[in-house]
Amino acid sequence: MSEHRPRPRAFRLDDERVAVDDAPAPAAPTATIRSQGAAIPETGAAEPIDEGERAVEAAQGAGMLARWRPRLSTLVWAGFGGLVSLGLGLWMSELIENLFARARSLGALGAVFAALFLVGIVGLAIREIAALWRQSRIAELHASLARARASDDRDAARALVTRLAALYEGRAETAQARAEVAEARRAIVDGRDLIDIAERALLRPLDVKAQAEIAAAARRVSMVTAISPRAVLDMIFVVAQIVRLVRRIAELYGGRPGFLGFVKLARSIFAHIAITGGMAVGDSLVQQLVGHSIASRISARMGEGVLNGLLTARVGLSALAVCRPAPFAIDKPPGVADVAPFLFGAGKDR
């Protein structure tokens, strides 16, 4: 044989010439033996990544992971923004000078306020950047977990699961789940199985909470639309509820999105709704129409309420799909009928 193969060999641990772990070692050991924590062997063939998962990844790419590219409008806005901030700075320095001219103490007070303002701005900027970074990290984690699960890659799964658990380190209620994941990491478990264990332990409780949020928002929206006196009022209410819901879901899975983060997230959500719109025809749209027609026969306002509720639930589900740091593998992704069954019974509630 051309390649070199190491020969089989054995060393007794009670041999004096062998160094074992932390035991006092002989002067010139013939062999050194280090115990290892067991790791996870990889096996199995690749599983294809399904359509729903591809849609989520495309949507994440369109918003949360979108790369910044200079365009003409960017030039316009950059120039304009620069001028405005220069103007703001000029105005501020003038204001403080004027204040100093009037009285020394007033000037000092003005300077303190200006300093507070600057510190606050810097803090906000840092928080925005941190939120953006976290968001893109979650989206990347999502894609890598999907790939590692599909290829049953042991090493990748171990690293990714650790990152997933680290995401929830600050939350006391996940202590047991994190311990479970850490234990599974040490045992001999295959890549795919390890990801499934982590998903079940860490994400399932969050899924339950997120779905409850969606259900509550959908219910509120449909109720308020049904009884609100003006169309404008319920429009405002629906938008406010949706914004609140998206922020809540983002917070549940991976921290506050911030302003820019929210904009990016919103883009991802719209992209997801646009991509999955066609897919949803099969299950939910028919139900939606059915539910709507029954409700609207009872009362026009009620039918509108159901529609708005459906819209809220739909947006909430898309938000859940793009914010979740791992793809749905052991559970089916929830549908509108799962989170808001009350919308399909002509207002009948559970």
Binding site: F11, S35, Q36, A38, V189
Partner: protein, 480 residues
């Protein structure tokens, strides 16, 4: 006549299936494996883990905390002994811990798992009954005989014994055979002598050093309660093609006994243990054959292929499940995976996949689900890294059995040792190349030692490798 017996046999299988279905029998889990593949240890570990309510993270129902408890049922079949679970467990964990003795007879056990269904409309208490059968692995070799006539079997057995690997082992028997005339008048002495020499040849071939597998008939190796009966006193004879067997000749007597063996031994065994299985796990000890050499591996491949041919595999239908159950899922498991470091498990699995290619292709063709894993029902080693002579080796640490030897060292069964068993090749076909058998240690690229069972932890089942994954594949869908 044979058409009639076949029909009668099918009818008896169908009748038993129907009786099972009506009496609400459980899921029948077939634990298949040649001798020394680790069937008894697998069953014991499976029961132990379920009874103790051990954490099995990959078994979904267990990870979700839906398994309330498991308990052993009273013996369902009055004619079959109970699987001596307590004894085997005591053997594994007692003060003088050792692997259970090789199985000498059929035994059976029924286990019930109480669990809650994870239904959307609320949890619902439910039960799954598992029927598990243990039997001597040698008997499995009888299954391929069911479709063979005496003449065909004789021809094949004699041809096989001419192979390079077997010829030296079979020499005494073949020398006796040369002086035997099949057309001579039947004599009990000649039959007994032939049968004894034939049996000696089979026993020798099975020896650890050679590790050959295709050695039917199985009762010659593990006679059970039939020792010395005429049904076991026969041997292959050189019969020429198409030549009728004269009545009252030696050949006629041998043929009659061969048929009697099929009717009274092989068929009932198949009917009772295998004709009605829902799930199957095929345990394969590839390491023994790897120790011996390529010829032993090819022999193992043939044995597995012959055995798997006998099973009824395919997607189950409702009516079929009443009269003719089929095996819907087959798990091929390379046992004793703890005898090598986990980085080699993939290669071991690849070798097992290559060993069972034909069986897998057949099963997939009819819609059964297949998986291949490396498994250790009881994990006897831990892992370590050896740095020696400028090389870093992924090794295992355990207590080798008394008398095992490697690199000039003989182990005493007490001292722990770090063992690097060698590296399996990346290409699984490489292990099949060549004619060698019973390779001495110096000529082989690997040497897998046998280890003693691990020292038992109090109140907890022994550690395992992928037992939970095996369970998830085999019964996970019934625990939804």
């Amino acid at each position: 006549l044979s058409v009639f017996t076949d029909l009668a046999f099918e009818a008896s299988v169908a009748a038993r299936s129907l009786a099972d279905y009506l009496s609400g029998g459980g899921l029948r889990l077939g634990v298949t494996g040649l001798s020394r593949a680790g069937k008894t240890v697998f069953i014991t570990a499976l029961i132990d883990n379920l009874l103790a309510g051990a954490k099995l993270p990959v078994l979904r129902a267990s990870a979700e905390g839906r398994i309330a408890r498991a308990h052993l049922e009273p013996q369902p079949d009055d004619a079959v002994p109970r699987f001596a679970y307590e004894e085997h467990l005591a053997a594994l964990s007692g003060p003088d811990r050792h692997w259970p003795q090789s199985t000498r007879r059929i035994s059976q056990l029924r286990l019930t798992i109480e669990f809650e269904r994870a239904a959307r409309w609320g949890a619902k208490a439910s039960e799954l009954t598992l029927d598990i059968v243990d039997y001597p692995g040698e008997w499995l070799l009888d299954l391929p005989l069911l479709d063979k006539s005496y003449a065909q079997w004789s021809r094949e057995t004699i041809e096989a014994s001419e192979g390079k690997a077997r010829a030296p082992l079979a020499a005494p028997w073949r020398a006796f055979l040369a002086g035997l005339d099949p057309a001579a008048k039947a004599e009990e002495d000649a039959a007994r002598a032939a049968s004894e020499l034939f049996t000696a040849y089979l026993r020798k071939a099975r020896d650890d050093v050679y590790a050959l597998s295709t050695l039917p008939p199985g009762r010659f190796l593990m006679p059970g309660d039939l020792e010395g009966s005429p049904a076991l006193t026969f041997a292959p004879l050189p019969l020429s093609e198409g030549q009728p067997i004269a009545p009252h000749s030696l050949a006629a007597m041998m043929e009659r006994r061969y048929e009697a063996y099929k009717t009274h031994v092989a068929r009932p065994f198949f009917r009772d243990c295998f004709a009605r299985l829902d799930r199957q796990i095929v345990l394969v000890d590839a390491l023994g054959a790897l120790n011996s050499g390529p010829a032993a591996l090819r022999d193992l491949e043939n044995a597995l292929d012959g055995v798997m041919r006998a099973f009824r595999v395919g997607r189950a239908s409702w009516l079929g499940s009443v009269f003719r159950p089929r095996v819907e899922r087959i798990l091929f498991a390379a046992t004793k995976a703890d005898h090598l470091h986990h980085v080699s498990h993939d290669r071991l699995e690849a070798i097992l996949r290559a060993l069972t290619t034909r069986a897998i292709a057949r099963a997939e063709g009819v819609g059964a689900e297949i998986d291949v894993i490396a498994l250790a029902a009881v994990r006897a080693t831990r892992e370590a890294e050896i740095r020696h002579a400028g090389e870093t080796l992924q090794a295992i640490v355990g207590v080798p059995e008394k008398g095992e030897r490697l690199g000039g060292q003989v182990f005493d069964g007490v001292a722990e040792a770090a063992v690097f068993p060698g590296e399996l090749p990346e290409d699984p076909q490489a292990v099949f190349a060549g004619e060698a058998i019973a390779l001495p240690e110096a000529d082989n690229d690997w040497r897998f030692l046998r280890f003693r069972p691990p020292i038992a932890a109090r109140d907890a089942p022994a550690p395992h490798i992928r037992l939970d994954r095996a369970l998830q594949f085999l019964i996970g869908d019934k625990l939804k």
